[in-house]
Symmetry: C2
Subunit: 192 residues, 2 copies
DNA sequence: GTCTATAGCTAGATAGAC
DNA sequence: GTCTATCTAGCTATAGAC
């Protein structure tokens, strides 16, 4: 646990992220966070006066994480299949351990109840991610590692949606769903 | 509105289903339903003593709907592409109008907070749906309307996950996501 | 920065009259 | 079958002491 090296504010965001991925934003309380950190609700309010503020902080944390990881992957000299693998097995599966889903999927489903500020962040984060995958797929097609039909940004939508959906299904039905979806995606990207 | 022809219990389930698809099970209250039907919370409790009972009723309603529609489609003499089209445009898009997602997707995301009885129902409903799509895909392959690689039940997972995920994304990003995902799925099923 | 205490609200749920 | 009234518990949020 590197938790002890982080300041309180970062610890709160870390615990909140976990709760977002397991229970959803409208479905965890300041008390849940307080209990895990052995402090009181009032202390959380000191750092994030309103829950909406915490929600925006969660979005910013995802944003920073995307910027860092996507940048690192895109500027590397790896092949497109390798880049996709880092995204899937290094990012998605690392962030979404047992019984967790992608935090963006979690926010999407609660979108009707979310404050406006969070909805705007969510949309931008999704678009950012889709654009990243589209770039990787385009590289793969250009270098003949991938051989899918149609535009890279159309294919990117299918790939991202399938990966996120597979995480949702896996929580209910077991990990084999993710494995099989991955295999299908590989097959359709290589197309032979 | 055929609402007036239904009894109160059915009306409650109908309103609850809409709220499930827009806000999620843990995110609507008996008061929300009561207001829409112009009755009181206590009246809802008369029909469904606990919210868990209402949740199970929602699962049963989805089950009945599946049984009826899947049976009608499977026993028809239509081609596999036609059957898939009825499922997508007749069922999914009918049930999931503007700003609604599939009720099963909604339950999946809240699964950590759901009562055990609902979790069991949810899993069975998902499996039922996957098996139905697998049957349609298998028919399509046998009749050479579809030409995907691999097992029908593996491909079914990808198709269902992509459709449900596209509905989630469409609510945040607009209907074009669903259109493009549909087009990609068609292409990968026909595979040429 | 963390605490106790509490306000104000809404949730699910129950009792009992009509 | 629907109502009013009420209970308990949980939530977000604030005030003020340390």
């Amino acid at each position: 646990m590197q938790t002890r090296l982080k300041n309180r504010k970062e610890q709160i965001v870390e615990v909140a992220m976990d709760l977002l991925q397991t229970h959803g934003f409208e479905n965890f309380s300041y008390l849940d966070i307080a209990n895990q950190l052995s402090i009181t609700k009032a202390s959380i309010h000191h750092h994030f006066a309103k829950k909406e503020d915490l929600g925006v902080a969660l979005c910013r944390a995802i944003h920073d994480w995307h910027r860092q990881e996507f940048g690192k992957i895109l500027t590397s000299n790896k092949s497109a299949p390798e880049k996709l693998d880092i995204y899937i097995n290094g990012m998605l599966r690392f962030a979404c351990g047992k019984n967790k889903i992608c935090p963006l999927s979690s926010l999407q489903v609660d979108v009707a109840s979310l404050p406006e500020a969070m909805r705007i962040e969510l949309k931008a984060l999704d678009e950012h991610e889709l654009e990243f995958i589209a770039q990787v797929l385009a590289q793969g097609k250009q270098e003949s590692d991938f051989n899918f039909v149609g535009e890279a940004n159309h294919q990117a939508i299918l790939v991202v949606i399938a990966l996120k959906g597979a995480l949702q299904y896996s929580r209910v039905h077991g990990d084999y769903i993710f494995e099989q979806t991955m295999a299908q995606i590989n097959q359709l990207l290589v197309n032979k």
